[in-house]
Each structure stands twice: as C-alpha cells, then as structure tokens.
C-alpha cells in the first residue's frame, strides 16, 4: 500500500473510476490545463483528454445542471466546485432537480458534486464554509465527508458508482496535512457504515471530517493526561447515516460528545443527538454535548478564526465535561 495524502487519495479514486468506466467524466473550473485550484486533477487532462476533463465557464448552475442532464443520459459526471462555498450558485440545481428526480421519475441521476470545504487555513468567509447539512436536509441527495485518505478514496469510488446524486465534501485543511496508507487499485468503502477509528470505553466522540482529527487528538491527550478511554467514531457518510453504528458505541460508553466543524445551530450534530437521545435514552449517563463552530461566518484573521472554529482542546473540554457528569 502506498502512503498518499488525502488529496492524492481522492485523485486516485477518481482516476481509478475514469480508467475503469468510460462514462465517468469530470467537469469544473480550471480542472484541465491548470489541474484545479488545489492541483487535485493534475495530469488528468493529459491522461483522459479534454472530452473527459472539461474546463467549464464560471457557471456553477450550468456545471451542476449539465451534469444532471449527462447523468440522465447515461454518464457519470464528477463536477468540481472550485470551493464548496460556490455550491450556493448551483444550489437550486442540486436540491430542486437532482434531489427530486429519482423520486419523481424513477430514473437514476448518478453524479458527484465535490470540492474543498472547511476552514482553519486562513481563507475567508467565502472559502471556508461547511454546508453539508443543507444537503442532508434537501432529501434525495447523499452526503459524504471523509476524514482519512483511504476512506476518501474508497468513498469517492462508491460515490461515483452510486445511482444517486452525491455531494462529496473534501476538507481543504486535510488535503496535504493528512497522509495514510491507501490500498492501490480497487478499494470500495460502502456508504452508511461508521468507522471506529479509536476504541474506548469511557466516552464516545461521534464526528466526521476535520472534527475526527480533533477528536483523535483530544482522545490521545486525555488518555495520556487523565487515563480516559475515549472511543472515536467517524460517521463518514451523513446520508445514508449509520444510526446503529453510532448507537453501538453510545450503548457501550453511555457518555457522548458530537463534534463537527460546521457551525452549531441547525447543523448535523443536532440530528445525531436527536437519534441518540431517541434510540439510546436509557443508555445515557450524561447529557450529550456538541462541539462545533460558533454561529458566524468563518472569519479571516487567524486570531478570530481560531477562536470561532472548534479544535482538539474544545473537544477535550467537552469530553471531560461528559466524563465528569
């Protein structure tokens, strides 16, 4: 197995599918000659040609809409939002058209909308948003937020093979920071199963995306400092959601922290808590705490950004709190 960055692993997953299946193509802004704003598609144009690596005009609605049309006509488009923030311009296409087509027509719309999301890298309010719960709440759209290179590859392959529209959130802060062993060639990670990335018995942290790394850091810290055994569950896919996988951990520890980088209010964390508090009520020994960003845009200056976003310390604090309850 090769050690790849999170970014390389995603590229590897897409490349694998493009080699395997001629109906897969990419479309986005500056993904061809330039290789993408983060160079994720570097070399793709040379390998697959301009018919399969399509540089589109700056038109997110057209990019998503044309992908839907191509999907209706038997292709499997992978559309890039240069930053996930710009998905707001293609929002109507995803929620109104893509998300309702299976239900209304019974016709598959196999397509992926992917791109870099998230903050912590000193971008600005328009290059840092974590908007996954918008699509969770859209109905008819699958939502994926990988945290590790192997998952990123395996979930990307599943996303491309899925018969439904998938919004695939890559975290730009993980792109080059997170490396890991990634199986070469075929590597499918099915949707809808959590990954217990660290076993533990005292407290469960349920997280996804960048928050999984915050949770791991906190878990290691707390084990060292106070001997706490923290289980970290990476839910990986928000839609479909592996409720049983989460409950399994909750039943074991009885104490839970839910963490995500997206802002708190109206986020997916609430959904997770609601499921836990409905289905594992009698197992809970403490209130479920959430750790998430403050309810504001993601600010630009590093001082503010650090204050507003969640991090390992904040997760650790919440873990201590539920452990002490």
């Amino acid at each position: 197995m090769a050690v790849l960055t999170y970014l390389e692993a995603i590229a590897d997953g897409i490349r694998h599918e493009m080699q395997r299946d001629p109906s897969v193509f990419m479309i986005g802004e500056d993904i061809g000659v330039y290789g993408g704003a983060f160079k994720l598609t570097k070399g793709f144009l040379d390998e697959f040609g301009p018919q399969r690596v399509i540089d589109a005009p700056i038109s997110e609605a057209a990019i998503v809409g044309a992908s839907i049309g191509a999907a209706l006509n038997g292709m499997r488009p992978v559309a890039e939002m240069q930053f996930m923030d710009f998905v707001t311009n293609g929002f109507n296409q995803i929620v109104t058209v893509a998300g309702t087509t299976a239900y209304r027509w019974g016709i598959p719309v196999p397509m992926v909308v992917r791109g870099p999301s998230g903050g912590g890298v000193g971008a600005n309010p328009f290059h840092s948003r974590n908007s996954e719960n918008w699509f969770v709440h859209a109905t008819g759209v699958k939502v994926v937020c990988p945290a590790f290179p192997d998952d990123a590859k395996g979930l990307m392959i599943s996303a491309i093979r899925d018969q439904n529209p998938v919004v695939f959130y890559e975290h730009k802060g993980l792109y080059r920071k997170i490396k890991g062993e990634v199986p070469e060639g075929e590597h499918v990670v099915p949707f809808g199963t959590v990954r217990v990335v660290r076993e533990g018995t005292d407290v469960s942290v349920i997280a996804y995306g960048s928050a999984v790394h915050m949770a791991l850091e906190a878990a290691i810290e707390l084990e060292k400092s106070i001997g706490l055994s923290v289980e970290v569950v990476d839910i990986r896919t928000l839609v479909p959601f592996d409720e049983e996988g989460v409950l399994r951990s909750v039943r074991k520890t009885g104490r839970v922290v839910v963490a995500h980088e997206a802002s708190l209010t109206g986020g997916f964390g609430g959904e997770i808590v609601a499921r836990i508090s409905d289905k594992a009520f009698t197992f809970l020994d403490a209130p479920v705490k959430r750790v998430a960003a403050f309810d504001s845009p993601t600010p630009f200056a590093p001082t503010l950004e650090k204050a507003v976003l969640p991090n390992a310390d904040k997760v650790a604090e919440a873990i201590r709190e539920v452990a002490a309850f």
Binding site: F25, Q51, R52, A56, P57, S59, E60, A61, A62, I63, V64, G65, A66, S67, I68, G69, A70, A71, L72, N73, G74, M75, P77, N92, Q93, T96, V97, T100, A102, Y103, R104, W105, G106, I107, P108, T139, G140, K142, Q163, N164
Partner: protein, 322 residues
C-alpha cells in the same frame, strides 16, 4: 424537410389535440375535478407543434415546459398516458409523486419540467453534451417564457451551450405575459432573441402563431445543430389567451389585446389555410375536431375512474438503490 400535405395534416392534427386537451381540461376545472394548476396553452399550439415537429422523435429529445402539450403529442405521447400523468392517478409514471407535465418518459424521449423556471435548460444542455462526448448528435429542444427568460440559470445554460457548441434549441415563447407581468416589466430589449448574439449563437424572432413558419425556422436550427454549429434561440411571439392558470381571471390583460390576438388564432387560421388549399374539407376537420375532443374527454373520464396511487408509493424511490 419538404412540407407535404401529409405533414400539414399532421401539424393540424397535433394542434387540434393540443387545443382540445385544453378544452377538456377546462371542462374538468369547471367541474371542480382538477387539482394542481390547469395551465391553458390556448394560442400556443403552433409554437409547440411546429417546434417539436422539426425534431427527429427517434434521435432527439424534448424538454417541454408547462404550455407545451402540443410538443408531447408530436413526440407520440398517447392521451391516456398524458392524462394519467397529469392527474397523478394509478399508472402514472410518477407514481403520484408529481403531476401535470412534470413526468418523464424516456422511451418517448420526453423529459418534463420542474416548476422552477429555467432550471431544466442546463439539464437539457447536459443531455446533449453526454451524446456529444460519445460523438453522437442528439438535439435537445426546450422552452422558456418571456418571464422565465430572466432567470439566471437560462444565461448560464445558454452560454455553456454556446461555448461547447451543443445542439440545444431554446424556444422562447413570448406570449406577452408572465403571470400578470407584461413584457415591458420583464425586459427592456426589443426582442428576446437580441440575446442570441451575446452568446454567440443563432437567434431569430418569428410569428409563433404560424405553425409552418415555426417548423421551418426550427428545422433550420436543427440542421445547424446537426452540422455542429451549436445552439439556436427561436423567439416565437404569441399570446397567452387565458389566465396564467384557470384560477386567474386575467383582468389585467386589455380586452383589445385579446381581440387582436384572437384574429391570429394559430388553429383557426391554419384550418382556414388547409381548407382553402383543399387539403382537408371543413367537414373533415369538424369531424376530426369533435373526435379529438371526445377522445380527450374519454381519456379524462377513464383517468378519473382510476384511484390515486397507493400511499406507500410516497415512501419509495427517494434514492435509487441497485
């Protein structure tokens, strides 16, 4: 395409079907049996029929809008299927999840609209693009109104289609009103087809009540598309002869305007032409017309006897799982 008398008869027949579909739906509405909106397309028959007729129903693909009943018929949709879909009864291709003209029938190469105006234009473009990537030319024809033309997605889709030289034909149905809003409050250009140049595509404004002119213009557009010369915009000028939907008394439309346009009735005028040219007799047409209406009503009656789809359909197919 050479205009034979056979073609002329088919154009007329399709227009009559569109017209009588309207009459049948109106009757239903008046009986209080229709739900959802009843969107008349009175006055629009020549535009729908003439445009769709320019396509090859076996190769090309239709993305109709809410007033394009005529286009469905040209693409061979049968009345019962249409009614069942429209009224969301058991057997609907949408299983009750949606109704009116929102259905898709891939076998007939028809992909219906969503309510959000303009949203299907990029989708139509993408449908053609898929075949373009395969080296096949599939013309997509879709429609937008004088109002819907202002939606941002229309712009993105047209520019995209022009850059990629997609075989997309956009029929702009300028029927003077967008709900209650007249052209003068929707746009400030002279003709909506003035926008074609700004995309680098062909564009023309024509009389949308003249079915043969619509057919001719769209045939040229199809030929251009097949030659790989990209999209075309055809603005068909017509008049929406009834309210936005049947609940609307359209008192905001000056009566004189309606009278003026009544003289341009696409169906009546074409009948006169056909009769004058002795292609069909007035009697033949009356018979055809009556039969068409009674077929429509019979289809409605059959449809109304069908129950709505089972409730459990509502819980299926949010995702397609294989």
């Amino acid at each position: 395409m050479k205009l034979t008398n056979d073609i002329r008869r088919q154009l007329l027949q399709n227009m009559l079907m569109a017209r009588e579909f309207d009459n049948a739906m109106l009757r239903l509405y008046r009986q209080g049996k229709a739900f959802g909106g009843v969107y008349s397309q009175l006055g629009n028959e020549a535009t729908s029929v003439g445009s769709a007729y320019a396509l090859d129903t076996k190769r090309d693909v239709l993305f109709p809008m809410h007033r394009n009943i005529g286009s469905h018929f040209v693409f061979g949709q049968d009345v019962d299927t249409l009614m069942i879909n429209h009224l969301a009864r058991q057997g609907s291709q949408m299983r009750g999840t949606d109704g009116t003209g929102h259905y898709a029938d891939p076998a007939k190469r028809i992909y219906g609209n969503v309510s959000h105006l303009g949203a299907m234009i990029p989708v139509a473009a993408g449908f053609s693009m898929a075949d373009q990537l395969r080296g096949v030319t599939t013309v997509s024809m879709t429609y937008i109104g004088d109002g819907g033309s202002q939606v941002g997605e229309v712009h993105e889709a047209l520019n995209f289609a022009a850059v990629r030289k997609l075989p997309l034909i956009l029929i702009i149905e300028n029927n003077q009103y967008a709900y209650s809003t007249p052209n003068s409050m929707e746009f400030a250009c002279e003709n909506l087809s003035d926008r074609a140049k700004g995309y680098g595509m062909a564009g023309e404004t024509i009389d949308g009540t003249d079915v043969e002119l619509v057919l001719k213009t769209c045939t040229e557009a199809v030929e251009r598309a097949r030659r790989g010369e990209g999209p075309t915009m055809v603005e068909c000028v017509t008049m929406r002869m009834r309210g936005h939907a049947e609940h609307d008394d359209f008192s905001y439309v000056p009566k004189v305007l309606l009278e003026e346009w009544k003289r341009k009735d696409p169906v009546e005028n074409y009948i006169s032409k056909i009769v004058k040219a002795k292609i069909m007799s007035a009697d033949e047409i009356t018979t055809l017309r009556e039969k068409t209406l009674s077929d429509m009503i019979a289809a409605i009656d059959r449809t109304l006897e069908l129950p709505y789809p089972e409730a459990e359909e509502g819980f299926k197919n949010v995702f397609i799982e294989d």
